[in-house]
Each structure stands twice: as C-alpha cells, then as structure tokens.
Symmetry: none
Subunit: 221 residues, 2 copies
C-alpha cells in the first residue's frame, strides 16, 4: 500500500513515515512541490498526504497538477490550525479530506484508511474474499470456520493487495511496487518467499500462479 507524503519539515515527515510504515503503508517522502508533482504522476500510490506550505510552491498547485493528470489517488491535506480558507480551497482543488495541525498520528491513519476505503468503494475496514476476511485494524486473517491468524507486516500488505481484487493477476513487479517504496528494493524472490508463507495459511489453491504473468487470489475455492 504505497503512500506519498509531501512535507517539508523533515523531522515531522520522518516521524510520520515511521508510524505510517508500522500501520502497513510503504511511504515515499518528498519535500518539494516539483518532485511531488512528478512522483504523483509517475508512481502508483494508493493515497497522498499533502502539506500546503512547501518551499518551492503551493501544495494546492501540486494537487491540481495531479488531478489534471491521471493521478487519481485520494489526497488528505494538512493545514495550519483552523485555516478555513485553506480547507475550502483544498477541497475545491480535489482533496478528499483535511486535517489541521497539530494532530494525533492515530487520527491521520484513521482518516487515511477512510478516504482509501471510500475511493475503493468499500464501507467496512475489512477485506473479504472467498472463505477469508482480512481485518485492517487488528492486522489479522479470519477464516470462516472461526479461526484467526495474526500476520506480519509484509504478509499483511501482500495479502491485502491480492485479496483486494480477487481474480486479478498481479505481476511480481506490481507487487514489489505496492510492498516497497523507492528506496528499498530487495530481490524479487522475496515475493515468491512470501507467497509461499501465505499459501501455508490460506491453502495452496487459494493463491494461484500464472506462470510468466503473476499471482492471483482465487476466491472460488
């Protein structure tokens, strides 16, 4: 679940990123409007967090640039406390939510999850597919026989990706992009290794291989 954080206060940005990563995101940070515009257009993010005060330009212009290109991921903007004008302008420019500084990271995460759910057309904070259900809050997998299994961070992110679109084939490259940010890029065999672990949980049939194409979650099992 890749996320773009646009924030020029380096300290704040890195603190946030570390907490967001614990919450299952893989975060790219940028400090400038210029880079933000490019990254937003080129990379495949699931959401963006945008501070409006940037050294080299206005965050709203970045947002407009995203929206006029095909970057359609949901965006949450950070505003100074009670700056109503910013809020209104932001929503006009296509933001999905806003949050006034200072804020609790928990609230940011909750709101992010909310706008991502909405943009995917989901209502609940869980993903269901076949006999399985993924609990976003507890980061665990429930089976319809009542059993439950907790997942590590990477297991969870990979499984969420696959279960989010049952039947859709995800290439290893796509999965790598969703699991890791621009800085990290481990050996692609890592996907095979995690697929194997997940299969031990959900059964070998549930995650199918399409040789040369990728993997898919089979909800018809």
């Amino acid at each position: 679940m890749r996320l773009l954080l646009v924030e020029d206060d380096r300290l704040l940005a890195e603190g946030l990123a570390s907490q967001l990563e614990k919450a299952g995101f893989s975060v790219d940070i940028t400090r400038t409007a210029k880079e933000a515009a490019i990254l937003g257009e080129q990379e495949d993010y699931k959401a963006g967090v945008l501070d409006l005060g940037l050294p080299d330009g206005n965050g709203l212009d970045v947002l407009r640039k995203w929206r006029s290109s095909k970057a359609i991921f949901p965006v949450l903007i950070l505003t100074a406390r009670g700056d109503w004008q910013d809020k209104v302008n932001g929503l006009k420019a296509g933001a999905d939510d806003y949050l006034a500084k200072p804020f609790q990271t928990e609230e940011l995460i909750a709101r992010l999850n909310a706008i991502m759910r909405r943009s995917e057309g989901r209502v609940h904070s869980s993903v269901k597919a076949g006999r399985f259900e993924l609990d976003e809050n507890r980061q665990c997998l429930k089976v319809d026989d009542g059993s439950e299994h907790s997942l590590t961070g990477t297991e969870f992110r990979l499984l969420r990706c696959l279960m989010g679109r049952p039947g859709h084939i995800f290439s290893k490259e796509q999965l790598m992009e969703q699991l890791y940010n621009l800085n990290e890029s481990p050996n692609e065999n890592i996907i095979e290794a995690y697929i194997r672990r997940l299969r031990k949980l959900v059964g070998p049939e549930t995650i199918a291989t399409r040789r040369g194409q990728g993997y898919l979650f089979n909800d018809a099992v």
Copy 2:
C-alpha cells in the same frame, strides 16, 4: 513486453533499444512514418516511443493513424527541447506522455512504465468469436458453457490473432510475425505445434486448415 521505437537517428535508436532491452522490453525499431503506421496497426505492442521528426512524414500523423485504427497502446512522444506546440499537439493527437530531447534513458524508462501502468485496465477488452471469449486482462479463454481455461503466453497471442478476425486466413508466415519479433525466428513447425494445442481446447473444427494458405478461426461452429 513488445515496444515500437520510431526514430530516424539510427545511432540514437540503437543505443536506446539496447538499454530498453536491458530494462525488459523487446524492441522493434523503424525509421519511417510509413512503416511505423503499418507496424503499429499490425503488431501487438505494449507501448510506443515516437519521434516527431521523420524523414518521410510527420510523427503526429502516424499517431493519428494508430488511434483511428485499433492501435490503442500508450505512446510517448519525443520532442525537440521545449517545443511547446509539439507537446500540445501530441497530447491532442492521443499521446500519453512526452519527453523533451535530450533526456536520460532512466527517465524514458520510468515514464514508459508509468504510461503502461495507467493504460492497463483502460479498456477491459475481450475478443469474442463464436462460442468463445478471450479475456485480455486475465489471459484466459471462456467458453459459453461457463468454463474457463487459462492460456500460456504464446497460446494466448496466437489465439487472439486468429479470433481477432474470424474467417480470415492467416498464413504461417503472418502468424510467425505476430508471435515473434524480428530477432527470434524459430522453426515454422512451432505454429503447427501450437495450433494443435489450441485445437485441444477449442475443438478441432474451430480452427480450420487451408492447405497451402494458412489457418482460420471458424466462428460458425
């Protein structure tokens, strides 16, 4: 991942091609507008890189020709530095992105990947013929009794070619061209071998042989 590179500067073209091939593309190069138009319509590329200045015509006309046919692969155009008009016209003509010369190959590759991602799922295209339907996204064959069979890469490409024009006779040479780029050229018996495999899926009557001419997909069965 086939890619068509339209560039008249032979040196630049070959340098680019070699780097693109390292990045996982299989590249066909053409230097003329005429050939570009034909290749773009007939071959199955995943993306195109189009230089606008060609010896025998304007690159934008090539792009328009592609767009008016069924060539819907994403296209990145190369323009002279800062040529604003070219950029606008290019996007109007249906380009997906542009890049000003000179450029870093890394950036070209990044942008290519970006436009290819965006264009995925642009259309959930499927080819129907007779009792069969070919799902382009999942690379599988659906029969109208509800059954479904996933195909290997080569099976899929060959079947798509035949089903794309039911009743039309494709010579073995034509099929070879569709399946392989200009560098690879296996024994022509490979077509017979794959025709046989496909017949096991769709039934022997559905793919007919015209001795001395080629094969055709029979949608009247």
